[in-house]
Every structure is written in structure tokens, then in C-alpha cells.
């Protein structure tokens, strides 16, 4: 190609004019994000929600200022340096390979910004983490496809909405009975997954009364999109207490034992066969008949399961002993017939398992 080095282009007045315009636009966008009334669209229901919004304002303001400059220059250069009809067809641009000074600054400034951003986000994150630990301790449990709640001194799980008193710190322990769910309250800007076999904790203090959505954000099965619940933050302490005591009375006779976790040691001592019989009618008869082995519903008939010479082994191949039956009740089993849910899915505590095994042991062929 011919030697046709074009003259270097000076940073001219057009450039500075455009820079000025972009600077004005960038400032305008920063002001926009500072003034934008986020809480008008989504209430800030807890104290730290405001911090998250501040974080967002900061990032949105700096991000849009940066974006204004990049896209602004992109458009300006695209127009100013387009090949014109008057240019010869083989005209070339100014061959600038690099500019160490410029490159140094546009590496250093983002690096400094990253440092600043790190400091800000760590600070705000610690404010979220360091919410007070004392206060109301609630456990939220994800199920397919609803959330339920355990309150101190209330037996069993509350499957209605979650109520919280205004201004009192809350420690929310999240776990799941089946698959991973996401526990998200948009108005609180808080979320954590409910993971089976794991307890994760979030803490917050409600600062605004109202009714807010709890939404599942982690795909959990076919009805995931309908997995909603509500949380009601109540300003009036008396009406919260009323609701709380109402549940205490309503659930007074519900068993409060936690389901047996996998791996937890289970004592079969003191199994109550009579209680096991009641429990069997509640929990097992959907899939199992009290009839000989070959009378199936979903699973086999369980009459004489521990005393059947024709079937000395259980479905998992282990000998039919009380301990192994308890193992299946505790851990469940998946085989060709389908899935026998485990204790946490069936809501069986270790005492329940002992009772059931005692009951099954009484059944003779």
C-alpha cells in the first residue's frame, strides 16, 4: 500500500464540545439516580433495605455516567470519522497504535474505582450481616410448593402467612424439606436459598408495616411460579401477640419434634406401638396396605414385614430387622416401584420412627 500517512488529528474543539455535553449528561444521570424515588416503587421494609438501595444508586450513577461517556464517544467518533463521499476510496485513518499515558490512566482509574466499590460494598454487606442476633428466631422451611414457618413456643409448622412485629430484630433460619428454594422478599432486598440439609440465616429488622410478597427464586418444580407467600409486618404489638397466641393454642396438640435428619442416630427403645398405629394411618396408608406383601398400592403391603419368611430381605437388600426398617423410614428409598420419601419429607421424628417400627413389629402374618 502506498505511503500515504495522513496528518495526525489534533484533539480539536469538536472533541471538547462533545466532552462537555457528555459531562453534562453524565452529571444529569448521576443526579437522576440520586434523586430517583426507589421506595415509591418498592417499599424499603427493613432497615438495611435502604443501604442496598444506596449501593444500587451508587453503582447505577457511576455506571450510567461511564456508559454515557463510552456510548457518547462511540457515537461521536462514528459520525465524525465516517468515510465521506469526497474521500478517495483508499483513504486511511490516522495510524495511532497506542498512547501509554492514556492507557495508564484508563487502567488506573478503573482500578481505583474497583477499590472504592469494594470498600463500599464490604461496608454495606457487613451492616446486613451484623444485624442484631437477639430477637425473634423463626425458622422458614421451603416445601414444594409453599413456605412454612416455625415460631418459638408454637408447635408444628405455621402454613399461613408469616407475621412479624414492627421494629423487633428477626433471625430467620432457612432450610428446606425437599429441594432448593429461594426465599426472597423484594421489599426487604434480602434473599437466601433454602437448601435441604443446611440451615442458612438472614437477620433483619422490619421498619415499615405492611404486607409483602415472599417469592421463590430458585426453580423448584412444576409449580415454582406459583410459590408465593406473604409476610405481614404488624405495627401494633398487641395484634401480633394475638395472632401468635392464636397459633400457640391452635397447634397445642401438634407434635413438635423435628423430622429425623439423615444420619441422625435413632433409638428404637421405647417405641409405642399404639402411637405407631395412629401414625401409620396418617402417614403410610396412602401407599401401603396392612395386607400381605403382594397387595400393592404404590409400595408393597406391610402386614408381617418383619416376620415374613417368604421375604427375608427388605427392598434395599438388607435383612428385615427393626434397625433396617428404621433406616428406610429415616432415609427413604428409590427403586423400581417409585420413591419412598425420607423422614424429613414425611415429617417423622425419631420418636415417630421408633413408634412406627414398634407397630410394624407387632404385625404378624
Amino acid at each position: 500500500m502506498a505511503e500515504q500517512r495522513a496528518q495526525p488529528i489534533a484533539v480539536d474543539r469538536g472533541f471538547w464540545t462533545v466532552t462537555l455535553v457528555l459531562a453534562v449528561l453524565a452529571v444529569a444521570s448521576i443526579v437522576f439516580w440520586i434523586l430517583f424515588p426507589i421506595s415509591k416503587y418498592l417499599p424499603e421494609a427493613i432497615i438495611t433495605a435502604r443501604q442496598v438501595d444506596t449501593m444500587f444508586r451508587f453503582m447505577a450513577a457511576s455506571g450510567s455516567a461511564l456508559y454515557v461517556f463510552i456510548v457518547g464517544y462511540l457515537i461521536y467518533f462514528s459520525i465524525a470519522f465516517r468515510a465521506k463521499a469526497t474521500d478517495p476510496p483508499d483513504a486511511i485513518g490516522v495510524q495511532i497504535h497506542d498512547n501509554p499515558k492514556l492507557e495508564f490512566w484508563w487502567t488506573l482509574l478503573p482500578a481505583i474505582f474497583v477499590l472504592l466499590l469494594s470498600v463500599i460494598s464490604v461496608r454495606i454487606w457487613y451492616e446486613i450481616l451484623l444485624e442484631p442476633e437477639n430477637g425473634l428466631v423463626i425458622q422458614a422451611i421451603g416445601h414444594q410448593f409453599y413456605f412454612s414457618f416455625r415460631y418459638p413456643n408454637v408447635n408444628g409448622e405455621i402454613t399461613d402467612e408469616m407475621h412479624l412485629p414492627l421494629g423487633e430484630p428477626v433471625t430467620l433460619n432457612l432450610t428446606s424439606a425437599d429441594v432448593i428454594h429461594g426465599f426472597w422478599v423484594p421489599a426487604m432486598r434480602l434473599k437466601n436459598d433454602t437448601v435441604p440439609g443446611l440451615v442458612t440465616t438472614i437477620r433483619f429488622t422490619p421498619q415499615l408495616a405492611g404486607r409483602y410478597e415472599i417469592i421463590c427464586t430458585q426453580f423448584c418444580g412444576v409449580l415454582h411460579s406459583q410459590m408465593h407467600k406473604q409476610v405481614l409486618v404488624i405495627e401494633d404489638r398487641a395484634s401480633f401477640d394475638k395472632w401468635y397466641q392464636g397459633w400457640q393454642q391452635r397447634n397445642a396438640h401438634v407434635s413438635n419434634a423435628l423430622p429425623a435428619a439423615p444420619g441422625q442416630a435413632i433409638s428404637l427403645q421405647g417405641g409405642d406401638a399404639a402411637a405407631g398405629k395412629t401414625l401409620f394411618a396418617q402417614k403410610c396408608t396412602a401407599c401401603h396396605k396392612l395386607a400381605p406383601f403382594d397387595q400393592r398400592l404404590v409400595g408393597p403391603g406391610l402386614q408381617g414385614v418383619l416376620h415374613d419368611p417368604a421375604h427375608p430381605n427388605l427392598v434395599n437388600g438388607k435383612p428385615a430387622t427393626p434397625e433396617n426398617v428404621a433406616g428406610i423410614l429415616q432415609n427413604g428409598f428409590t427403586g423400581s416401584l417409585g420413591t419412598m420419601p425420607n423422614a424429613s419429607a414425611n415429617g417423622l421424628s425419631s420418636q415417630d420412627i421408633a413408634n412406627l417400627v414398634a407397630f410394624l413389629n407387632t404385625l404378624k402374618l
Binding site: 440439609g197 444420619g263 442416630a265 434395599n316 437388600g317 438388607k318
Partner: protein, 203 residues
């Protein structure tokens, strides 16, 4: 006849072979790296599960007895040493010694596989530890050692092919990348076993 083929090439530098060998060597090393990542992922999975939750070994599983595994490991490590000397002897033109070392490697490899089969037999039927039925212990132990055993099996097949090819005179003193690759692979399989032996039996 096979010995005759070990005579050096007729003085000429075969540029094409040199460059092709370079490519293959590089490619083979990269293959080993990605295979190593495969093992590392499962090892990570094992260590992660081991450290999350219920303590180790999980309820209902005995710790593994090291006695037989130590012997079996030494068998495999010994095969690494014989393979090393197989390659060395080939490089210096001692064809028959090379063949004997190669055969010894294969025998040791097969012995290791037999030992693994014995170990599996003992675990599954003696102690009722199975792949699917013994929780995360069975899952990680049988998956990792099974994967390794499969690699050893492939290696034994490869070395057998090497024996046949060498007998047919495929490799010469100037061109023996197949043997180098076999040695690399076999060493790799050995070294993976060092790690697996340590994390399953010693840790």
C-alpha cells in the same frame, strides 16, 4: 528381525517426523492435563462431601483396611518403575530387555486390577459397602477407584498393543513416540493412584 529395525535411520533428519512428534507430544500432555482435571473434580467432590456434614467415615461404614491396599499400590508403583526402564532400554537399543520390562509392566498392571477386584469383592460382599447403598463413601470410593481402574485397563490394552507393534517392528530408534506416550500415560495412572491411595486409605 525386530532387532534389525532398531538400527538408526539413515543419517537423515526427518523434519516432518520431528515436527509431527512435537505436536503429538504437546497434544498428549494437554490430554493428560484435562484428564487430570477430571480426576481432580471427583477428588474435590469427595473431599467436599467428606467435610460437609456428618463426620467421616459416615455411619455404617468401617474405615478402609490399609494392609492389602498398600501391597496392591506397591504393585502398581512397581509397574511404573518397570515401564520407566522399558523406555530407557528402548532408547539405548536394548530391544529384548525393553520387551521384558514391558511385559513385566503389563503383568503388574493386571495384578493390580486383580487386586482391585479382590478389594471390591471384599468390600461389597464382605462388608456390604456398595456403590449406591453406602452413601457418599460408596459413591466417591467406587467412582474414583473405578475410574482409575478403567484407566489402568485402558493402559494395559495400550501396552499390549505396544508389545505387538514392537514385535512387528513398528518402532525404530529414531521414531518411537508411541512408546513415549505409553510411558507418559502409565506414569500418569500411577501418580493418580498415589493421590487416591493417600486420600482414601491414609487420610
Amino acid at each position: 528381525m525386530a532387532v534389525a529395525s532398531l538400527a538408526p535411520d539413515a543419517g537423515e533428519v526427518d523434519q516432518l517426523y520431528i515436527e509431527t512428534r512435537e505436536l503429538r507430544l504437546q497434544g498428549f500432555l494437554f490430554f493428560l492435563i484435562s484428564d487430570c482435571v477430571l480426576f481432580s473434580s471427583f477428588i474435590f467432590a469427595y473431599l467436599y462431601m467428606r467435610n460437609s456434614g456428618q463426620g467421616w467415615p459416615p455411619p455404617g461404614v468401617q474405615r478402609l483396611d490399609v494392609a492389602f491396599a498398600a501391597w496392591n499400590s506397591v504393585v502398581l508403583f512397581g509397574s511404573g518403575a518397570t515401564m520407566h526402564y522399558a523406555l530407557e532400554n528402548f532408547k539405548y537399543g536394548h530391544f529384548m530387555r525393553y520387551m521384558w520390562f514391558l511385559l513385566a509392566t503389563i503383568v503388574l498392571g493386571v495384578m493390580f486390577l486383580g487386586g482391585q477386584a479382590y478389594e471390591y469383592n471384599h468390600l461389597i460382599f464382605g462388608e456390604h459397602v456398595t456403590w449406591a447403598g453406602s452413601g457418599i463413601f460408596g459413591a466417591s470410593f467406587f467412582t474414583l477407584t473405578g475410574m482409575h481402574g478403567f484407566h489402568v485397563f485402558i493402559g494395559v490394552c495400550y501396552l499390549t498393543v505396544l508389545v505387538l507393534q514392537s514385535a512387528a517392528g513398528v518402532y525404530t530408534r529414531g521414531k518411537y513416540f508411541g512408546i513415549t506416550a505409553g510411558t507418559l500415560y502409565w506414569h500418569f495412572v500411577d501418580v493418580i493412584w498415589v493421590v487416591l491411595f493417600s486420600i482414601f486409605y491414609l487420610l
